[in-house]
Symmetry: C2
Subunit: 468 residues, 2 copies
């Protein structure tokens, strides 16, 4: 290499690096499948976290449609672990929804969600942990994920992102999520709080957190499935009484010699095995994270390493229209479309097939209970909204109520219905430690997906410091 | 009166009487609001029962669409007391349903119910007790009704009707109904059985009975509302525990000195007062038995005696479209139309305004529990199907399960899911005494109205002696 060439090459590399950094986020004005320009402000991008930014976390940022300068900023994590932030964006609390019609080969279309929480707050939907959605690792090492790593990385993500968006540095910040995020979010709130206390910059104007049907103490939640199923009429009184007697209320850590209890648990499992866990009244349909035939065919060319597996594992059946999961299926067709990825500014070659939920992540489940984080956070005075879709059997409301009770907070405003349009939308109770609990009547595991109007009203009231 | 005139007048009277008798039932080929000829056989008519037939019970008879010569005959009573058989016909198990669209002054229209139980059985929908629907009393004395009188009259009705339809005399006969009929139907089955034993003609080929969300032991059912509401997440665990402790499980007959219990019951009532009792997840809407403005205006001219009351009682608000009760509202417009009444062969001047549920009936509630009838009927070997829409708080499934348990029948086929189209439609258990219990998952107070496909499958299997 001659003397002239080397500095030129270096310059070229620097320019490339700068461009990549400059291009790390973009405003998205149009989305394929959505007619006309987006009537909300959407930014997508990547933030590199972890060792030399080897974990590239993708996000969707939707600006508050009210007063983005002052409205809170909510960072939202979908559960799984491994479910894309897109689920939050397009099925739960974000501004778009699919038009759920039979797929005919053309791109699924989108419409506005009138109950988007972005009418009240700016929301950062983050594909985390790495490997989720469009997030990717640059090295095999960086693809390793786990609860604590996720906490570190999302914390780092938020600080970096805020530095890139200094105009939002003073906005109140909330962290939210549902399902598995119940284990991660409180630890993340704690981490942010700790770093604030250590005066690590930028200081984050952390106000509190929101959790829906949140995993908190998996044993408590697993145990609560039995009284829940009984209350909902899925098991007989006799089996319930026998379970209580024989197992002493403990259905997870059972003495292997306790045959009565084990048999009863087996009977319970059989009786509920065909029930849709996310909402006991909805039809049970094929997979929540489908691999549609077309895109898996596509994947063969995108991801050579998985080819062999592809031929061994039989294709699961596809959901039919009328299934809630059919709406999920559409997300595969949409997200694996070239123009969609281009519109979202997905880095070419960064990701093979997009999956709604990637359950094959290398992920260490390290937080076995987030109870202690709640205890700690409450002493620090953070606000919290804990809600439960009351027809969810994955994390039943009874489980959530059980750990809340264990917190031993005094009650500020006791159990009462909360109302929307003169109808009981659920029940709520407020605790002295700025914690609000609410059920969403008729809601499922991801309550805003099942009861959008009610959950929007709940969020709107809570985020504005109004009683539910 | 001269000698010639008298016999002529007598003849005229006789002819008139014969005509009235001959005209006591008719085949209805067309119904206003339903396009084209009816694709099922509908007969309507009156049967005079009680003292010299002074109580004229109106009925709709729909012939089985399968094999009417052999299929069972089901006599169906709607509850209330005072709710018209038309509710069973047009909202629950009969062959027609309203097209529920906004009323614009023209006659509400009808479509076929694909899940009509008449695909498996002939059904006699009877407007009973007298005063209900189109049934009427010829004398003030005959308008007095009560449980035992109803039992006598429906029994008499059935015998008379069968004598008029001798071709059905050998068909298996079932008696069915829901809600309040749970008190009357078992007594009626007992009555028919007794008369069969006494060899009273015509012998009725009585096989069994069907009851849905049936009032049986009102105290048991009232008490069951509290654990039901708790299981469904409507009251807090703390209130539930306090109720159990303070009231000792007895929430009806409370010691007036037991203030803790009384306060808790009051709290319970307040928490659930805005819940729709017939289905806890549905919106609570104005009245189940509405008086639409138009028809109540009409009523003023039809029923002079109620005029004064009309001006004192303020009009209740009308339900809006989207309310289940809006569908009920349509029945008022339809049934109070001149051409509809003509098509149904309603006797002119026999009835003022038709009401879906006439709660103003003079009615003596005499049967305070039908438990003993079940005990007696089971020893006689009658089949029974007892089902519960599991989201009904008026007669919760827990109450029904409680009295069934008290029967102390041995279990033939224990609690298991019953399946329709690969989905859990509910749970079922069979007892040795030919009693089948079934829950209808997601069903309300009148389960076939909420889960028509599931309830049709349940009925079809049971009536054909197949397991659910």
């Amino acid at each position: 290499m001659d003397k002239l060439c080397f500095p030129l090459l270096l310059l070229l590399l620097l320019v490339q690096l700068c461009m990549q950094l400059a291009a790390s986020y973009s405003t998205v004005k149009f989305l394929p499948g959505f007619q006309g320009p987006l009537p909300f402000e959407l930014e997508t991008g990547y933030v590199g976290v972890g060792e030399s930014g080897d974990a590239q976390l993708f996000y969707y940022f939707v600006k508050s449609e009210k007063n983005p300068r002052e409205d809170p900023l909510l960072l939202w994590l979908t559960g799984g672990p491994g479910c894309s932030a897109f689920s939050g964006l397009a099925y739960e609390i974000g501004p778009i929804n699919f038009n759920v019609v039979e797929y005919n080969g053309s791109l699924p279309t989108l419409h506005l969600n009138p109950y988007s929480w972005t009418k009240e707050a700016s929301i950062l939907f983050v594909d985390s942990p790495v490997g989720t959605g469009y997030s990717y690792a640059k090295t095999p090492l960086a693809s390793q994920a786990g609860d604590f790593k996720q906490v570190q990385q999302v914390d780092q993500f938020l600080r970096k992102w805020l530095l890139d968006h200094p105009e939002l540095l003073s906005n109140p910040v909330y962290i939210g999520g549902d399902s598995y995020s119940g284990l991660v979010v409180p630890a993340l709130v704690q981490q942010i709080s700790n770093e604030n206390e250590e005066d690590i910059k930028p200081l984050i104007n952390l106000q509190g957190y929101i959790l829906g049907n949140a995993a908190t103490e998996p044993t408590v939640e697993e145990n609560s499935k039995i009284p829940f199923a009984h209350g909902m009429g899925l098991i007989s009184n006799e089996l319930y009484e026998s379970l209580k007697m024989g197992c002493g209320g403990e259905y997870v850590n059972v003495d292997p010699k306790n045959e009565v209890c084990l048999n009863d648990i087996q009977a319970f499992s059989k009786l509920t095995s065909e029930i849709e866990g996310a909402h006991i009244l909805e039809p049970r349909c094929p997979f929540s994270s489908p691999k549609p035939r077309e895109s898996s065919r596509k994947r063969r060319s995108l991801n050579v390493n998985e080819q062999s597996q592809e031929f061994l594992v039989p294709e699961p059946p596809l959901p039919t229209i009328g299934c809630r999961t059919y709406g999920y299926l559409l997300s595969y067709y949409w997200n694996n479309d070239y123009n969609v990825r281009k519109a979202l500014r997905i880095r070419l070659g960064s990701k093979g097939e997009w999956q709604r939920c990637n359950f094959g992540l290398p992920y260490a489940r390290e937080i076995h209970s987030s109870f202690s984080y709640h205890v700690s956070l409450s002493t620090k005075g953070y606000r919290s909204l804990i809600y439960s879709g009351d027809h969810d059997m994955m994390v039943p409301f009874l489980g959530t109520e059980a750990w809340i009770k264990s917190l031993n907070y005094s009650i500020a405003d006791d159990w009462r219905p909360w109302i929307l349009h003169s109808q009981v939308a659920g029940y709520t109770r407020t605790y002295s430690n700025r914690m609000t609990y609410a059920t969403v009547k008729g809601g499922g595991h991801t309550a805003p997906e099942y009861r959008p109007a009610e959950c929007y009203a709940m969020f709107q009231r809570w985020i504005n410091h109004d009683p539910l």
